[in-house]
Symmetry: D2
Subunit: 152 residues, 4 copies
């Protein structure tokens, strides 16, 4: 078990947002399965959809927004092979909230609900002008915390 | 033979710029060979290196440059399968010069010198401010024509 | 107008299969729009979904199938820039049927129904064992022709 | 500092294999820099080149080889933004050897020698036939250990 998961069943139950993705043929490799680099593409897609869902789009992606999201680290554990044309779900949750950063957790499941990949990564809000970390506004904090309340 | 190649031998002899690329594992697919979408990645890489070689970097990629390159169309003919770890050469030449556009031709060969893909595509110089086609400057025209002279 | 489109309105009306795709952030590039190489990823995704829809999955993708699909050529015309998070539709149709090949046409539209890219490409059915072109079976021909009848 | 690096200077000095890669335009994103998912493509490319350099190609990539490499996990820490056309070096080393697995460490530096990304990941040798972990042969162990001796 990766060190960011204490109790797999509890950990899984805390995801309340998920996004479908179907494995493209161009995402497979000559071993016949999904290339390992693509899970990070799915994480990014899930993360951005999650931000939109919890109302983070305005701060980060609108022109003129002060803060921009920077990836500090990313991690993926590969549990089960995934093949062309499988219908997956990318689950995303906020696992921790810092002053100007968040720890996001990821779970990719297949149609049978089996765990294919788990992962995590820290995002930092950085000022577009100074390049320095930018503390969450009160409104942003409320949105992040609300996303956790729904899940719990 | 594609309609942009009249005489394959002559056509091949007119390339004087080429760039090496080795097939990555992540670029293969479950059929065991290079995925067909990747040849356009190689074309782009070759095209940009070609622009730098003939001195086009300043106009197009420097900040504040007036013109930006826009892809009008792209074409690829697949002649020979390519596999993981093959060492390829991406050849690029200017096949035609318009008022604000160029027709580029591409050739990808393997280590044995065999033709793997051929292709072509038109690039248009567009004004960053107006979004309209922007005629070549005299200096740019000279660079484009010089690249053809070297090849001939 | 590209030479594979005689009458744009008529050409557009002949598509009866389309598949949604949303532009991923990782598919944009530093010019701020969809990288030109990605339209071929969308074409492939549309093509494979189209094959499944018209019942071609069994012949080509099942283990032990005699024929495999080989891309002979691919072409894309770029008509309108596409940006992160746009919801596109990838339309696919059979535009011509050869002895062992088909000519597929592609159309990518945005949410407003505007044409973003058009394209075409020839696929050849090749024998897995001999590597030579393999004529369509009567059943396959009927499926290809049926897909055209629906569209017309 | 990530937990897999105790002393950065010592850690850096233990890499003896590195591979050049130049950032492609198609690998940038609309934030103007290298998309975060691409560092794993560079890790894979470095890893495979490393395996070839230390003589692992025969076991793993030859047809009929008994063992195949499976990625158990992957991690990347992003230290410095990377932009289009930068010339990077991907450094790879064996940081730990298990019964049927290895822990690989990665370092990506720019032309000035600055650290851009660090990372790690565990690979497991799995039997092609049983799908179970396959212990290293004595010859494989010797190659893995030799790669560490050179570095030290």
């Amino acid at each position: 078990m990766p060190d960011y998961i204490e109790d797999l069943e509890k950990w899984q139950s805390e995801f309340s947002h998920s996004y479908p993705v179907t494995v493209r043929f161009s995402e497979t490799d000559a071993f016949g399965h999904l290339n390992n680099t693509v899970s990070f593409v799915y994480f990014e897609q899930g993360r951005i959809n999650f931000f939109k869902d919890i109302g983070f789009g305005e701060e980060w992606f609108a022109k003129g927004g002060e803060g921009i999201p920077v990836t500090a680290d990313l991690h993926c554990d590969y549990k089960r092979q995934v093949f062309f044309d499988e219908n997956l779900e990318v689950h995303v949750k906020v696992a921790g909230i810092g002053n100007s950063s968040i720890d996001l957790h990821y779970l990719i499941t297949n149609e049978a609900g089996k765990v294919c990949m788990t992962g995590r990564g820290r995002m930092v809000q950085v000022s577009r002008t100074s390049g320095k970390p930018l503390s969450w506004s009160k409104a942003a904090l409320e949105k992040l915390e609300a996303s956790q309340a729904i899940a719990g």
